[in-house]
């Protein structure tokens, strides 16, 4: 049993507030110092050990990023987002549907789960050659891979969430006069929601990786594809700039889902 949350009130006094501010400032400084150190090491290694075309300097990458942002990268970002949106929504819908079916009908579960367990160890990546064969080099390759990758985490987590529903809470609902659909809408769904959202976030993570890999190996547009494109021209500064963009967008997408999680699950004491 978790103890009740006791809110600690910080720094009611002026001195306390000042101290608090100072501590916050110091932690920001340390964090910034960490990033600065990495950038310094990067440029030092580039200058001392490697040819600038092998490891472009931070300044060069920033320059390349500026050029990209001013021009062609918009189309690539858009293409990637389209791939992701299409593949992710297909994967999530399939995963949710299968999980609900498994939870609702035990007989169906007997068939679905073994199939899932056989497919799950075969990562989306392993499907790339087959996907290339089926679809040729096209947008269908990343979309298929994204959908495939996204299906499993949301399936597994949703099913887990429904199964883990506290027996006690179901009993409580029944003894309060609830039944059937009311229990589904008022107990099962809210109870499973944290697991569903965790699944959605995990799905997005693997979908993101599948997107980059799919575009890189078998796509004809998107950020992953663009990396290979610039590699052909040996434009390593632009390659690194796109890597940066991929990192930032991935981070933003995850943060967005985390925000959604916090918004919808204000009642949930466990921070994930």
């Amino acid at each position: 049993m978790s103890p009740a949350n006791v809110k600690v009130t910080h720094g009611a006094t002026r001195a306390g507030r000042a101290r608090h501010l100072l501590l916050a400032l110091r932690s920001v400084l340390v964090s910034v110092a960490g990033i600065v150190a990495v950038v310094l090491i990067w440029s030092l290694v580039g200058r001392l050990l490697a040819h600038p075309s092998l490891l472009p300097s931070p300044v060069a990458v920033l320059g390349a990023l500026r050029v990209l942002l001013a021009g062609e990268i918009g189309a690539d970002i858009l293409a990637s987002i389209v791939h992701l949106a299409a593949g992710y929504s297909i994967g999530v819908v399939i995963g949710l549907l299968l999980a609900v079916l498994c939870a609702r009908f035990e007989n169906l579960d007997v068939f679905i789960e073994p199939v899932i367990e056989v497919l799950r160890p075969i990562s989306a990546i392993a499907w790339i050659p087959i996907a290339l064969l089926m679809f040729g080099v096209s947008e269908s390759v990343p979309i298929f891979l994204i959908a495939y990758a996204a299906t499993f985490p949301i399936f597994v987590n949703t099913l887990d969430g429904v199964r883990r529903l506290d027996r006690l809470l179901l009993n409580a609902a029944r003894s309060l006069g609830a039944s059937g659909n009311f229990i589904v809408t008022h107990v099962v769904i809210p109870g499973a929601l944290p697991y569903v959202l965790t699944g959605a976030r995990l799905s997005l993570g693997v979908a993101w990786m599948a997107m980059v890999a799919g575009e890189l190996v078998g796509g004809d547009a998107g950020l992953g594809w663009r990396i290979m494109w610039y590699q052909e021209f040996f434009a390593m500064d632009k390659v690194m700039a796109i890597i940066l963009v991929i990192g930032v967008l991935g981070f933003v997408a995850d943060a967005a889902l985390r925000g959604l999680q916090r918004r919808l699950l204000g009642w949930n004491p466990v921070e994930s």
């Binding site: 978790s2 009740a4 006690l168 009993n171 609902a173 029944r174 809210p190 009642w267 004491p269």
Partner: protein, 270 residues
């Protein structure tokens, strides 16, 4: 007794252990009648089937043999006329205090204004004013307890089934909640149609303090060892520390001491 609200007749309950495959007899041949309006306490060492007995009355599980009759009808499932207060509260973590309390009326289709009015009345009654919009994890143990009590009361159940409801709070809170429970039930002036209570506890003094009768269960298999009348005058809070009270506690304790000692040792291989 003809006006028994609850009749438990030759009830047995066996489980099959998932781990060993053995059959475990949780309850063996329980016979019990509870008249309407009685406060009945059930005590016994851990593993004596106290909670199983309550689950049977609540309708969460069915007896392996025998019958549980509520107002002459066989109990086949849970129902709002039999309110339950769970040991670990079983509050819905995603609903606020208000949301938990109004859950029963909501499930039964009571209109919004009515159920809010009832919930607010109960919130005042159990002393949770100002905490309506808190989530369960933001409450202290005692406050969760009050919330669970109010949630049960919101359906106006005829019988209160309470499974060690005060086990998880500290001693001071416990004393206060005992007094409040008695007050809500009608300790001082029992009105006609007052609720019937089945109160499961492992605390003997609590059972003696609250109840009209105390059922002592023995373990392995769970069965009734004795039923003791508690003739203490009401209101009860004044009886704490009276010699008569102490004597009754000692009497009950004598009945379960040996079994409790065995339970401690056997607890290991459970």
């Amino acid at each position: 007794m003809t006006d028994s609200i609850l009749k438990i007749q030759a009830v047995r309950k066996t489980y099959v252990s998932v781990r060993t495959g053995d059959t475990i007899e949780a309850l063996a041949g329980i016979d019990l009648e509870v008249p309407a309006g009685e406060f009945l306490a059930v005590v016994g060492p851990s593993g004596c089937g106290k909670s199983t007995l309550l689950s049977l009355v609540a309708g969460f599980t069915q007896p392996s043999a025998g019958e549980v009759l509520y107002r002459g009808q066989r109990v086949t499932g849970a129902g709002p006329e039999r309110g339950v207060m769970f040991q670990d509260y079983a509050l819905f973590p995603w609903r606020t205090v208000l949301g938990n309390i109004e859950f029963g009326p909501l499930a039964r289709g009571v209109a919004l204004t009515q159920r809010h009015a009832r919930a607010r009345e109960l919130i005042r009654l159990v002393g949770l004013d100002g905490f309506e919009n808190r989530y369960p994890h933001e409450l202290s143990g005692g406050m969760r307890q009050r919330c669970a009590l109010a949630r049960m009361l919101a359906n106006d159940p005829e019988i209160w089934l309470m499974d060690e409801p005060l086990a998880a709070v500290d001693q001071q809170t416990r004393t206060i909640l005992q007094d409040e429970l008695l007050r809500l039930w009608g300790d001082a002036a029992r009105r006609p149609g007052a609720p019937t209570v089945i109160f499961v506890t492992h605390a003997i003094d609590e059972a003696v303090l609250l109840a009209d009768r105390v059922v002592v269960l023995a373990r392995r298999p769970g069965r009734i060892k004795a039923v003791i009348d508690i003739p203490l005058p009401r209101p009860r809070p004044a009886q704490r520390g009276s010699p008569q009270f102490a004597a009754l506690v000692a009497q009950v304790w004598d009945l379960i001491r040996d079994e409790a000692a065995k339970a401690i040792v056997e607890e290991i291989d459970r």
